[in-house]
């Protein structure tokens, strides 16, 4: 049943995939060029013995995974309840809430994976990958995607106006992408901000991805990272399932 829902999302995606190329591939690539290469030239010492570009690319990869995942679970989910009302159509078919939610989440994971794979290839072309472990960046990206997508589903299913999505981006997504060890090490943040950064799923994703592409040990325990991200995904699933049930099963 879950597969039918995934299939539905894949079919609708066929009509719009070109537009999504821009936001999920071209923009990260531009960031890598404009920022990684451009600013990198001015970071003379590199970071921890690694050239700045090589250091920030894995962070950007995790950040791209997060952006795609949140992008695809915010407006589309709100729209599915408030505008196109596709969820109500699905709920009228013999599907369980878990199928509707699961199929949609699988689609988000698919989007995250394809976007990350394209980015990883570009990173390879720029010679920023130091180890075969870089392949592990893909499952990590999928996990990062799930860890932020599931809670975003819950949030988007709760709100009624897209103004609240703008707030999510302003107060959640943008600060997270700026201060979670993507562009500079979180250790240079003052203590309270540093703790916030440690709490964000993106820092865990970025640290894991970085250790994969550079072939170095992560700065925190790898199982710890994985567990923490899973915890976000599981809590998100629980909340999203509860909220979807509230809206769909009346």
């Amino acid at each position: 049943m879950t597969w039918y829902v995934l299939e539905y999302h894949l079919v609708s995606y066929r009509r719009v995939w070109r537009a999504s190329l821009l936001s999920s591939f071209v923009l990260p690539l531009l960031t890598m060029l404009g920022f990684g290469v451009g600013v990198g030239a001015y970071v003379t010492g590199g970071v921890g013995g690694v050239p700045y570009l090589d250091w920030m690319v894995p962070g950007l990869l995790a950040s791209t995974a997060m952006q795609i995942a949140i992008g695809d679970s915010s407006w589309p989910v709100l729209g599915g309840f408030e505008w196109q009302r596709t969820y109500f159509g699905q709920a009228a078919a013999p599907l369980r809430v878990a199928d509707i939610l699961g199929g949609n989440l699988l689609f988000v994971v698919f989007r995250t994976l394809t976007g990350s794979a394209a980015f990883l290839l570009t990173a390879l072309a720029f010679g920023t990958l130091h180890s075969w472990w870089a392949l592990a960046a893909l499952p990590i990206a999928a996990l990062v995607g799930l860890s932020v997508a599931a809670p975003t589903f819950a949030y988007a299913a709760t709100i009624r106006s897209d103004s609240y999505l703008a707030i999510l981006f302003r107060l959640g997504v943008i600060p997270m992408s700026l201060f979670s060890g993507v562009f500079f090490p979180v250790e240079s943040l003052p203590p309270p901000a540093r703790w916030l950064a440690y709490a964000s799923p993106l820092w865990h994703g970025a640290d894991l991805t970085r250790s994969a592409t550079l072939g170095t040990a992560p700065s925190w325990s790898a199982p710890g990272h994985l567990l923490y991200l899973t915890l976000w995904a599981a809590t998100g699933w629980y909340l999203a399932h509860r909220q979807f049930t509230r809206r769909l099963v009346v």
């Binding site: 531009l30 970071v43 103004s163 609240y164 707030i167 107060l171 600060p175 201060f179």
Partner: protein, 269 residues
């Protein structure tokens, strides 16, 4: 500046009053969630300043400008953030929101049944974008002064410069919106905007780019805006800034006249 362009476009008493009534309508929508969206808008450039200017700045150290002056990376990035947030603020109001009001909410059809004229709608929306953008700019400049990235007097001068920057992008955005067919076209606008944000001498001096790219960059409106604001906040004003000002003024004039004519064409069929 405003008094310099407007009289040629409008020759009707009451036009200012009617444009103001369009602004009033927008002010009346400020409520609950939307209010928070607007208020949080000023956070964005500050976050970028802290992350890139301060965070990445600690890796970069000091920068030597083209004229030999040495400034901290944060002092280099801050004026660019200010200029690009003036751009973003003006564009979001005059492209996305403007298009929605025109095509989907049919808001302007209702307004045009009153004495309000198309050019007055355009000016009203632009004025609204300016008010919003300049509040953000003022807040950002206060932070810059507090972080010792510029002096209060220079901040004041930079504030007037951001008005010009906002007007230029607002007028251009509005003209652009009249050519848009669907929301998908706005993805392109957003991408172009992001590319400008990355490559307009915002994070590294344009001199760092290869010659061809550098010329291209120096011809973009955001580069001119960044150059103007940066020269003011870092205290390096020179003749080049006259080019910046002339460039931005030209954009304002062309944008406004195109927008006024196109809106009339679209709505008064």
């Amino acid at each position: 500046m405003v008094t310099f362009v407007l009289p040629r476009l409008i020759s009707f008493e009451g036009a200012a009053r009617r444009s103001a009534s369009v602004v009033e309508r927008n002010a009346a929508t400020l409520r609950s969630a939307y209010w928070l969206v607007m208020a949080s808008g000023f956070l964005e450039p500050i976050l970028y300043l802290l992350s890139i200017g301060v965070g990445v700045g600690s890796l970069v150290g000091d920068l030597t400008l083209a004229d030999g002056r040495v400034v901290s990376y944060a002092a280099f990035v801050a004026p660019a953030m200010l200029a690009s947030s003036a751009m973003t603020g003006a564009l979001s109001e005059t492209t996305f929101n403007f298009f929605g009001k025109m095509k989907f909410m049919k808001l302007y059809d209702g307004m045009l049944a009153t004495p309000v004229r198309p050019i007055e709608i355009a000016l009203g929306e632009l004025a609204w974008a300016m008010i919003r953008g300049n509040l953000y700019a003022a807040a950002f400049l206060i932070i810059m002064v507090a972080m010792d990235l510029t002096t209060p007097l220079r901040a004041l001068a930079a504030w007037t410069a951001t008005i010009l920057v906002g007007l230029a992008f607002g007028a251009a955005g509005m003209a652009l919106s009249t050519y848009m067919r669907s929301w998908q076209d706005f993805d392109l606008v957003a991408s172009a905007q992001f590319a400008l944000f990355l490559f307009s001498g915002t994070f590294v001096p344009a001199t760092a780019y290869p010659a061809a790219l550098r010329w291209l960059v120096e011809a973009t409106p955001l580069y001119r805006a960044v150059d103007l604001v940066r020269a003011i906040t870092t205290g390096g004003l020179g003749w080049t800034q006259l080019i910046d000002i002339a460039y931005l003024l030209t954009v304002v004039a062309i944008g406004l006249s195109v927008a006024g004519r196109r809106i009339e064409k679209l709505l008064c069929k």
